[in-house]
């Protein structure tokens, strides 16, 4: 079972989100989210970079991007037109505590605005209630020893506080 932050090839496109204008957003292995306007395919425009390793990305109807940051063990949000990524869930180092993630792979929302995260490294899916006023947290990636992957799949109900 490979760590999701290890890629087959050094450069890879991880995942894609499309907005209602057919703008394509791509999360790349080397830490950037790039965008291409409809019908363009040359050099992508940097939306955000210096993420740990953006993996799954999701976009809502307002054009806000939500990114499972595999290398940062967090979920970040980028408002439409912004270049600033704000941590909205976890980002408290690698671990399996309720406020931690380990190599998150994907994000999704339900119609109540709850955030679900595919927590690849902890073999679970987590649910977070997002604080709408989530403030910018600085975080550092730490890579402790390899943790055992086997745990029961449960859904945790959480209130995040910043």
């Amino acid at each position: 079972m490979s760590d999701c932050c290890v890629s087959f090839s050094f450069f890879s496109a991880w995942s894609v989100a499309i907005d209602r204008n057919d703008t394509i957003f791509v999360a790349t292995y080397y830490g950037s989210v790039l965008e291409w306007k409809k019908n363009t395919s040359g050099e992508g425009k940097v939306v955000v970079d210096q993420l740990g390793e953006p993996r799954g990305i999701s976009i809502d109807s307002f054009g806000t991007l939500y990114i499972a940051d595999c290398g940062g063990d967090s979920v970040v949000r980028v408002l439409a037109g912004s270049k600033k990524a704000t941590v909205i869930a976890a980002g408290n180092g690698i671990g399996d505590a309720p406020n931690q993630l380990y190599n998150p792979a994907d994000v999704a929302f339900d119609s109540y605005g709850n955030l679900y995260v595919s927590d690849y490294g902890n073999s679970r899916v987590q649910r977070f209630k997002i604080n709408l006023k989530a403030s910018a947290n600085s975080f550092e990636s730490s890579y402790p020893s390899f943790l055992s992957m086997f745990s029961i799949a449960v859904i945790f109900f959480l209130n995040t506080s910043d």
Partner: protein
């Protein structure tokens, strides 16, 4: 889920309009489903080939990025159609108009597009042939050159 069944290193997740959570339990070759408010998840579809990601359209048609096949599953009955092939799909996304699927693959720096309701297998279109920034490539080449020259210098001084 029955017994002590567990998910293992989940890949993509999707939530449909009924707030049902679907999980690509890739290393167990299956899709797991958890209805909103339920405490037990169930196996939705199994016997798959390392399903890494999935999406549904608004009509309930499911699309799965299996390892070597991008597959479409109609709602009722669940019939499987192969839309595209790869060495190893990583992800699949559907556009808001629900017309096209976009995929990424291991070992390829590209984004490909497929017609969601295509009847037959497609080659797909490379909408972004190369995701990599030229600046990043130049940066890495420069770093390699610097590293090699330091290494060489050290070797000469010895």
């Amino acid at each position: 889920m029955a017994g002590s069944d567990k998910i293992s290193s989940p890949g993509g997740i999707f939530i449909d309009r009924h707030n049902t959570l679907f999980i690509a339990d890739q290393y167990n070759y299956r899709i797991i489903k958890l209805e909103y408010g339920a405490t037990d998840a169930t196996v939705f579809l199994d016997g798959l080939d390392y399903p890494a990601d999935l999406v549904f359209d608004s009509e309930g048609t499911m699309f799965i990025a299996e390892k070597e096949s991008l597959t479409r599953w109609t709602k009722d009955p669940r019939n499987r159609t192969v839309l595209g092939r790869s060495d190893w799909f990583i992800s699949v996304t559907i556009d808001p108009k629900q017309e096209h699927l976009y995929t990424t693959e291991y070992g390829h720096n590209r984004v490909k597009k497929y017609t969601a309701n295509g009847r037959a297998e497609q080659n797909g279109t490379e909408v972004i042939p190369n995701v990599n920034s030229r600046k990043i490539l130049v940066l890495y080449v420069c770093l390699t050159v610097v590293f090699l020259s330091l290494f060489f210098q050290h070797g000469v001084l010895q």
